[in-house]
């Protein structure tokens, strides 16, 4: 092959190579975004499910729990001082 032909092949390689790299990595981008979406959907319900029943089962609203724990903390602080 003479240099002119080689140059043409190299230019061809340059275009195909860059297109190839971009297409492949773009595919990877969409795959990551897709995976992250699925993952976040999976994660949230698990957290919710774990929390809600435990509070409901005791029949105490969370506002009351907060108030009671605040009162206990205050009492403990007083005891200390």
């Amino acid at each position: 092959m003479d240099i002119g032909q080689l140059l043409a092949t190299a230019a061809n390689l340059m275009v195909t190579g860059m297109v190839g790299v971009f297409v492949f990595l773009s595919l990877l981008i969409s795959a990551i975004i897709f995976m992250s979406k699925i993952m976040s959907r999976f994660e949230e319900p698990v957290v919710e499910a774990a929390r809600t029943p435990s509070i409901k089962a005791q029949g105490v609203p969370s506002a009351h729990v907060a108030a009671i724990s605040a009162a206990i903390a205050q009492y403990k602080n007083k005891q200390k001082s």
């Binding site: 390689l13 190579g17 790299v21 971009f22 993952m39």
Partner: protein, 376 residues
């Protein structure tokens, strides 16, 4: 008297040739750069020493039967050493910055333009008398622009084993020179305002995402670019061992013992390719020049891509992070951080630059796969 003469004939002094002496001097230069200047010492030290060993007359360390001959044939001819190193690099790499902001992958892709532009440049160099690069040679030289030592050695051992010594030395020298080559290009292509851009904090990435990521990369490579699976596959294996958290012992070995042992022998074997008849040619000068060109073009195209993304993106992107798209992990990311801090002392870009940085590793492995598939 006869015996004395024979003994004299067996000394190094009687057998030295001038080119071999020059190569020993090159070896000493590499040792100096490694020890006194701290340039990639982990590789330049064994490479420099290997260069000295291989040029010792009479001993024939690189002739069939010699130690370096076997090390080269077992480790590099077969492609095993660079792949083992890639496994270690996978075990050392944290992909969370990339998973949190996947668009950064485009910067890692853009920086690979350095590779393909240099391929064209290497062929163009054939117009200069004295240069005769085939398409295979040109591809192996161009991969220096990937700024990834193991990938460069892997591809060179497959496509142009004769040029391997010069290519590996150029690749590792320029990786050491990243803090000197990149900042002027980055400053020239961006305005101070652009360099001050702060990027929003990255979200935390769950463990599950990190475990699925290497499997996903492997799956895509399997489907679309099987030629890249040796590199990408070993990389993903290392990364999965790290992120799965169940094989800490294996992951630690890959990150420490295996990568260290392999580095010693890889360096020696590359050094053994620095024989006078292969290295002291005009082609080596051409390779060194093309390597620098490849690095600069890669850096520039990364920065341009980041500028383009910044125009279209809702959340701001500092164009400097594009420069980290050439792999050279983590040096390129540190350089980005440093240049960013010069303009805005509160702007820490390190984590943002790690995204394109690790994307660059994947990008150059993919580029190597494409070259292997099309040229090999």
């Amino acid at each position: 008297m006869e015996a004395l003469l024979n003994l004299w004939q067996a000394t190094g002094i009687a057998n030295f040739t001038f080119p071999a002496l020059i190569m020993i001097a090159v070896g000493c230069l590499l040792l100096y750069l490694a020890i006194a200047r701290n340039f990639e010492p982990l590789l330049l030290l064994p490479i420099g020493f290997g260069a000295i060993l291989t040029n010792i007359p009479v001993a024939g360390l690189s002739d069939p039967g010699g130690l370096l001959y076997y090390v080269y044939h077992i480790g590099i001819d077969t492609g095993v050493f660079p792949l083992l190193i890639f496994m270690g690099v996978g075990a050392l790499t944290d992909f969370s910055a990339l998973i949190a902001n996947p668009r950064m992958m485009l910067l890692g892709a853009a920086a690979q333009f350095g590779i393909f532009a240099t391929l064209f440049g290497a062929i163009l160099l054939n117009y200069v008398p004295g240069f005769e690069f085939s398409l295979q040679d040109a591809s192996a030289i161009a991969i220096i622009g990937g700024a990834d030592g193991p990938t460069a050695i892997f591809l060179a051992s497959k496509l142009a084993p004769d040029l391997l010594g010069a290519i590996a030395v150029a690749a590792y020298s320029y990786m050491a020179l990243v803090p000197i080559i990149q900042p002027p290009i980055m400053r020239a292509l961006t305005t101070p305002e652009e360099r001050k851009i702060q990027m929003p904090q990255l979200r935390t990435v769950s463990k599950k995402e990190k475990i699925i990521f290497p499997l996903m990369v492997l799956g895509l490579t399997m489907l679309f670019l099987p030629a890249a699976t040796p590199l990408v596959g070993m990389f993903c294996l290392g990364n999965l061992m790290r992120e799965s958290g169940v094989v800490d012992r294996l992951s630690n070995s890959a990150q420490n013992e295996i990568i260290n042992i392999t580095t010693i022998f890889l360096g020696l074997a590359v050094g053994s390719k620095l024989a006078a008849d292969k290295f002291l040619t005009v082609e080596t000068l051409g390779i060194l020049a093309l390597g620098a060109l490849a690095f600069s073009i890669g850096t520039a195209s990364g920065v341009f891509m980041a500028k383009g993304l910044n125009k279209f993106s809702k959340s701001p992107i500092n164009p400097l992070v594009g420069a980290a798209g050439v792999s050279a992990v983590p040096m390129a990311a540190r350089v980005v951080n440093k240049v960013g801090l010069e303009n805005n002392p509160h702007n820490f870009l390190l984590m943002h630059a790690m995204g394109p940085n690790v994307a660059g590793v994947l990008g150059s492995a993919v580029a190597a796969g494409i070259l292997l598939a099309l040229v090999g």
